[in-house]
Symmetry: C2
Subunit: 319 residues, 2 copies
């Protein structure tokens, strides 16, 4: 939520000389995404986002991220589209960082999405999964189940200081998940972080999906499980009406197999654990000079406990 690397007018002008976007009219650093520097750019031709990739996004992953956005947009998904420069490149270098110019999406994210928004977002996730099916570039999930044990070890000393009994909760969830993680489910391109922050709405309809920098190849049903965590909990608990609306809308566009449905409690447990672990890690290893405030991990303690209490997918409104 900050600008790490400054870009001067002169640097911007030099960059834009490589693109066919016209003369800049406004240029502002914006508080968007995690750990990249983002700028809002208006030119005579339209609105754009300039992203400078800071250390968390590796240049070796840009053919996946930027290629995926172009691929999805060509299939009708409302996502930022990287512009190609006059040489056809999807990114360049600015201030010693990889930099891409992307289309700006209109719309606003919601802090408190209602049931109708959950359905719209579930439909958008299914459309994303369908559009990603023939994307050929692979990228492993760096924050998938294979990473959780190491993350758990890195936070184990401090976890109970954040909330009592968190360490044992994490250990128990890992002991359950490692032998029970589904092995034979369909795989595909997933967003892996489709929180309400990353879905823009206009007049009640999804107008854009953003922040694809956790996207990877993994289980589409796990992506749905991330959304059950991100969209359906309220301060006083899990809202099964939202979950039903979300999953029904998803299934109208992409069917879920019996195996995917059966796996949902484990997948949702895993998704809650993933966000609990990374939030704990970010909190414990927080650089006080960093410009990003760490997010509270504790809500995912509650969510993890909920999923561990679930008997089957009916708890998520799936008949």
């Amino acid at each position: 939520m900050a600008v790490y690397t400054d870009v001067s007018f002169e640097e911007l002008t030099g960059l834009l000389a490589g693109y066919d976007v016209g003369v800049p009219q406004s240029f502002k650093g914006i508080a968007e995404g995690v750990e990249n520097s983002n700028f809002y750019l208006q030119t005579a031709n339209g609105d754009y986002i300039l992203t400078l990739y800071e250390k968390r996004v590796r240049e070796v992953d840009l053919p996946f991220f930027l290629g995926l956005l172009e691929h999805l947009a060509a299939r009708g998904i409302a996502c930022p589209v990287p512009l190609r420069d006059r040489n056809g490149a999807q990114w360049t270098t600015l201030n010693r960082r990889p930099a891409a110019l992307l289309t700006f999406l209109h719309g606003l994210s919601l802090r408190r999405p209602d049931v109708v928004h959950c359905a719209e977002a579930g439909d958008a996730l299914a459309a994303l999964h369908a559009a990603g099916e023939d994307f050929p570039v692979p990228r492993a999930n760096a924050l998938g189940i294979a990473s959780w044990r190491e993350l758990a070890n890195a936070v184990s000393g401090e976890a109970d200081n954040v909330q009592p009994d968190t360490r044992s909760l994490i250990g128990e969830a890992l002991e359950f998940l490692e032998p029970n993680w589904p092995k034979a489910l369909p795989t595909g391109v997933i967003h892996a972080d489709l929180f309400p922050d990353n879905v823009l709405f206009m007049k009640g309809k999804v107008s854009g999906l953003i922040d694809f920098y956790f996207a990877c190849n993994d289980l589409p049903a796990y992506d749905l499980a991330v959304m059950l965590n991100a969209w359906c909990f309220e301060s006083d608990g899990f809202n099964v009406t939202k979950a039903r609306a979300l999953t029904q809308a998803y299934r109208r566009r992409r069917s879920l197999s019996d195996a995917e449905i059966e796996a949902l409690p484990a997948l949702a447990t895993g998704a809650a654990l993933r966000f609990l672990l990374t939030r704990l890690y970010d909190l414990i290893h927080h650089d006080p000079m960093a410009l990003v405030r760490p997010r509270d991990p504790r809500e995912f303690v509650k969510r993890l406990r909920f999923h561990r209490s679930v008997k089957d997918a009916s708890a998520y409104g799936i008949a």
Copy 2:
């Protein structure tokens, strides 16, 4: 350069219900200004900035700041204009903070303004001084000469750790300035912080002046002295050609009296001292959890030494 206070879609919608600006289409936190939370807002009607005033800007000063912007805009100055809500108010409350909706100005600030830009900016400063002449609300300069001794005391213990001999330089400058500060110069509304950051350009012309939250009643010639510090130094020293261009353009629109010209070396010394002191203070008292990186005070050590070496206003290109 950050967003301190979040504003949700729902809070935004509630706020906009009080204004006649149409439906929101985009809303992004932007990295603008110092220690306020700023958001870029697009609606069907146009582009706006929503500012939430954090602790540095006191609500008691808003009639001055917002009234001044409306006053200046009515006299042709390209500055942000606060919208009045349906009740005629220039600000409201959002998330327990005073909040104002202002017009968004197009244009880009320059990191390395050239001679022509210095002339344009000097002309804009004179126009600002002329337009402010009949603004009736008073505001004292909280960072004027009366404040410098206290600031100097607050940084004296650490100043030499930032750069050797800075403490004695500050002491010497204060000893010179306190008895020699001009007493009988014209006063008026000044911007007091017109750095290149705060001047937007389009096609080589000034398209906007922004960030008026240091504006106050003080000496217009001191405002010009701030600009000599902010626009005319380069990494290898003072560029008198830029100073000549800036002051000549200023004087074409607003004449300088002999007394103002004679006072320029003292005023420029004072301006350098003011920014040295506040940057030292911000660096020494920097909250590591703050989202603003402190700016380097050391360039103002050099500038202060330069002004102390100056014999008269001819050093600034004034014949």
